[in-house]
């Protein structure tokens, strides 16, 4: 799950490979809160800085370039500027004490760890529901769970610390 700042909008995006991607093309399914259900997307790389991207809405050529963490994009006859906000993999840095931070508002569906548990990187911590989709939140490193801040059924806001790992 990514939070992407795109021009003046913050967009919560869930995206995953639908098939094994190659260097030049792939298939995704992606969801943003604007749509009730996930949208299938196909992409083809036309050049290092150009993708052709198609969805049930149609096909668009999008040019892009990145500089210092900011993406500059051109498509639909207009310009976009984007940065990736608050990704889970940066949670420990942003949370200070190794907190796993919610990238978007949601509800806890199930908890798979408890306080004191030793965990390894990639281990399932909890499952959340956001934008009518279930998402597994996994540990971004090895450690010990020192605090679980929520119980199943709790709702949380974007930026909430879900689990503290030390």
């Amino acid at each position: 799950m990514n939070m992407i700042q795109l021009n003046n909008d913050q967009i919560a995006l869930i995206v995953r490979d639908a098939t094994q991607a190659t260097q030049t093309q792939g298939e995704l399914i992606a969801q943003i809160p604007d749509f009730k259900s996930p949208i299938p997307i196909r992409w083809r790389r036309l050049s290092p800085n150009t993708l052709s991207i198609s969805s049930p809405f149609g096909e668009e050529t999008i040019h892009f370039a990145e500089d210092g963490g900011t993406y500059y994009l051109h498509g639909y006859g207009r310009n976009f500027q984007a940065t990736v906000l608050n990704p889970l993999t940066q949670s420990s840095a942003e949370g200070g004490q190794g907190g796993t931070i919610a990238p978007m508002p949601g509800t806890v569906v199930s908890l798979n760890v408890g306080e004191g548990d030793s965990i390894t990187k990639g281990q399932l911590l909890l499952t959340i529901e956001s934008m009518k989709m279930l998402t597994d939140i996994t540990a971004d490193r090895d450690g010990t769970v020192t605090e679980v801040h929520l119980s199943a059924g709790d709702t949380f806001d974007k930026g909430a610390v879900l689990v503290t790992i030390e």
């Binding site: 990514n2 795109l6 196909r42 992409w43 999008i62 498509g75 939140i137």
Partner: protein, 503 residues
């Protein structure tokens, strides 16, 4: 794109090598005409411009040094020295920098180097607002009428009333908007004089006033002049440059949507007569203010090529830089006024490195990806290439997009299309904002004035992103951030959505 009457072969060139005392897009523009005339082009440059297209395209280059990059381009002695070392026999100053510097033109003359522009006396005359105004009064050229208050208030009221309303009362010693009052009717005048005078005493210690005609919602109209050294002066029509921000032009066009054929003839003939009376030579521009009642007033004369000269080239087919060189060579103009035919409509957009959402503050950054729009009716004058960095060292203008159409609406639609196709990635620019102007109803109707941008501020800018745009563009970003889209965060329910997807 070139069309129309140009070129007639220009032969017997005395000028063999031109030094271009400028940079950026205009240096490239001048080099193109040098190429066409088979004249060598020498480009002077500061290290900040070492990778620029002008330097790459030049036949010869000479590096300039200075405390700042701008200072390097203003160093008269260094440029004279560059002429000597390169053997250049003429200098084209472009615009800005030394283009309207009489001392520079004189210094070149001393060295027997031809300055491609008018003589230094005319540069000085028109370069000083007070001397230009005195010149206009002396020659009965319309200027914004004004009177200065003498001791007798009754006389001042009579004189001010004769100018007509609305009037702007100003403190003679004033500035910065203090001690200024707009008077709409004669009945308000006496009390306005009293109040403004009191204000002027408080603000400046001097109650003397000055009254001038207040031009409401003015339009900026200017006339392109071309004059040879044999007394021939012609005009190449007008340009309208009313779309401005911070007194800088952003969008220019030819012809103006505001003029009737009669008014056009009147304004253009007035401009020609101003150039004749000043003994003008080479290319120049007479700037006018057009009031809503169709009265017009001389503002100033720019004794050089203008940034917006391409719109005139697009509608007349005349290569203005080539004609400047032709005139500097002592040649007669190859055409008369009646030879000049006007074809269709042209619009120029200045592409600025700036953020229209942040009060047009300049932006900087690398040019990561650059693709200009193309087409028969599209011209782009640019001075940078992919990989260059836009810094705060120079003016934020990056390029000019000029589009021609058979009429104004076709030119507007063509401009909008070209702006959509213009790819400039790596920093924020005004490209999207320019598109929104092309879509705006009053701009399309030709109903605007110099306050347009400020007045329309809230209505300009492209509409919010659509859901589709958000999804697709955000997905492209996510694709570039592969670690973030790894299998660690698989949404479980997505599998279900795959079934209905038809390729």
């Amino acid at each position: 794109m070139q069309r129309g009457i140009y070129p007639k072969a220009v032969t017997d060139m005395k000028i063999k090598k031109i030094l271009i005392a400028n940079r950026g897009e205009i240096a490239v523009r001048i080099l193109k005409s040098c190429r066409k005339l088979d004249i060598s082009g020498v480009v002077v440059f500061h290290a900040a411009d070492a990778d620029s297209p002008a330097v790459k395209m030049a036949d010869e280059t000479v590096e300039l040094f200075g405390d700042t990059p701008v200072a390097a381009y203003l160093n008269i002695e260094a440029i004279v020295e560059a002429c000597k070392t390169s053997g250049a026999d003429a200098v084209h100053p472009g615009f800005g920098f030394l283009a309207e510097n009489g001392a520079f033109a004189r210094r070149l003359a001393e060295e027997n180097i031809k300055f491609i522009g008018p003589n230094p006396e005319v540069i000085d005359l028109m370069g000083n607002k007070i001397s230009a105004r005195s010149f206009a009064i002396e020659h009965n050229i319309p200027i914004v009428p004004s009177v200065t208050q003498e001791k007798d208030t009754a006389e001042f009221i009579t004189a001010a009333t004769s100018i007509g309303f609305p009037l702007l009362l100003k403190a003679a010693a004033g500035g910065g908007g203090k001690g200024m009052t707009i008077v709409h009717e004669a009945s308000e005048l006496a009390s306005a004089i009293q109040l403004t005078s009191q204000e002027a005493v408080r603000a400046f210690g001097d109650g003397a006033l000055y009254a001038e005609r207040y031009v409401e919602k003015p339009r900026h109209i200017e006339v392109q002049i071309l004059a040879d050294e044999h007394g021939h002066v012609i005009h190449l029509g007008e340009r309208e440059c009313s779309i401005q921000r911070r007194f800088q032009k952003v969008i220019e066009e030819a012809p103006s949507a505001a003029l009737t054929p009669e008014l056009r003839a009147d304004i253009c003939n007035t401009a020609v007569s101003i150039a004749q009376k000043a003994g003008y030579q080479n290319a120049g521009t007479v700037e006018m203010i057009l009031a809503q009642d169709s009265s017009f007033y001389f503002l100033e004369m720019n004794t050089r090529l203008q940034v917006e000269h391409p719109v005139t080239e697009m509608v007349t087919g005349v290569d203005l830089v080539a004609e400047q060189i032709n005139v500097a060579n002592g040649k007669k103009l190859p055409f008369t006024q009646t030879d000049i035919k006007f074809n269709g409509h042209a619009i120029e957009c200045r592409i600025y490195a700036e953020d229209p959402e942040d009060d047009f503050a300049p932006t900087t950054g690398p040019i990561l990806l650059y693709q200009e729009p193309s087409g028969d009716n599209v011209r782009v004058d640019s001075g940078f290439i992919e990989g260059m960095r836009v810094t705060s060292a120079f003016d934020p203008m990056l390029a000019k997009l000029i589009v021609h159409g058979q009429d104004r609406m076709v030119a507007i639609k063509g401009t909008e299309k070209a702006l959509r196709e213009y790819i400039l990635l790596g920093l924020k620019s005004n490209l999207d904002w320019l598109q929104s102007v092309m879509q705006e109803a009053d701009f399309q109707a030709g109903e605007f004035h110099t306050g347009y941008i400020a007045e329309k501020a809230e209505h300009l800018g492209l509409p919010p992103l659509t859901s589709e745009q958000k999804l697709m563009v955000a997905s492209v970003v996510a694709l570039q951030e592969r670690p973030l889209t790894s299998a660690e965060y698989l949404p479980q329910s997505m599998h279900k959505s795959m079934g209905g997807w038809q390729n």
